[in-house]
Point group: C2
Chain length 108, copies 2
DNA sequence: TGCTCTTATGTCGGATATGACATATAATTT
DNA sequence: AAATTATATGTCATATCCGACATAAGAGCA
């Protein structure tokens, strides 16, 4: 998973503490963002494994292709809700979901 | 955890497929709701274990007491995002988070 | 009984995430 | 290279979720 240093670089619109209180809960924020990016990667991986296009997945979950693209890109406008609902729509079991969440950020 | 048959009963405002397409993705919907309720219980358990009031937890995560109450009650107006951010604010590690998610609904 | 602390429930204006659409940029195929 | 298919990016109106507030309900104690 070479594209996971992406995480830092791709702080595209993440607004983080910057727009907020500038000091404080950056520890949880970090874990939260990291989790989202990990789920995003998992969605893409699972969708591809099932040979589905973004359009197909979008229809399965009554969303749209652009939403799926943003999801997989780790766009900050995408919620954890949508990510997890996507994984569930892809048939991910709770065990598998847990495994995705448990897995910490790959070694550098 | 006797209060988990609550799940079915407490379909208070869950609107489910009812307001939606009436047929279709109830499998994922079920998993989704079940997950939320499990996280809700986990928040309450962890908050109590740390001897925090809802007001205190609310302040820690810059939310409000009423939101925390709704979270713990499994109110449908609460998102997965908020539930997970709460758990992270309570110092839950990703390992622990995974354990909460993995754990399937208790036997009856 | 009142008093204090905690939690529950209802509501609301404002904030954010949503699907949809248009369109751009790959990536494949012919 | 042109056509086709897949994915990316930007924008927008509406739906949903948010914190905040008011207030009720419960628990424990003076």
């Amino acid at each position: 998973m070479r594209e996971s240093k992406r995480k830092r670089l791709e702080a595209k619109g993440w607004k983080l503490g910057s727009a907020k209180d500038f000091l404080g809960l950056s520890a949880e924020e970090d874990a939260y963002i990291d989790l989202k990016l990990r789920l995003a990667d998992a969605v893409r991986a699972r969708r591809r494994r099932r040979h589905l296009t973004q359009v197909q997945l979008a229809r399965m979950m009554r969303s749209s292709q652009s939403r799926v693209a943003k999801m997989e890109a780790g766009d900050p406008s995408v919620s954890l809700d949508l990510l997890i609902r996507s994984l569930l729509a892809l048939g991910t079991s709770e065990q598998e979901l847990a495994a995705i969440i448990r897995r910490s950020k790959p070694a550098a």
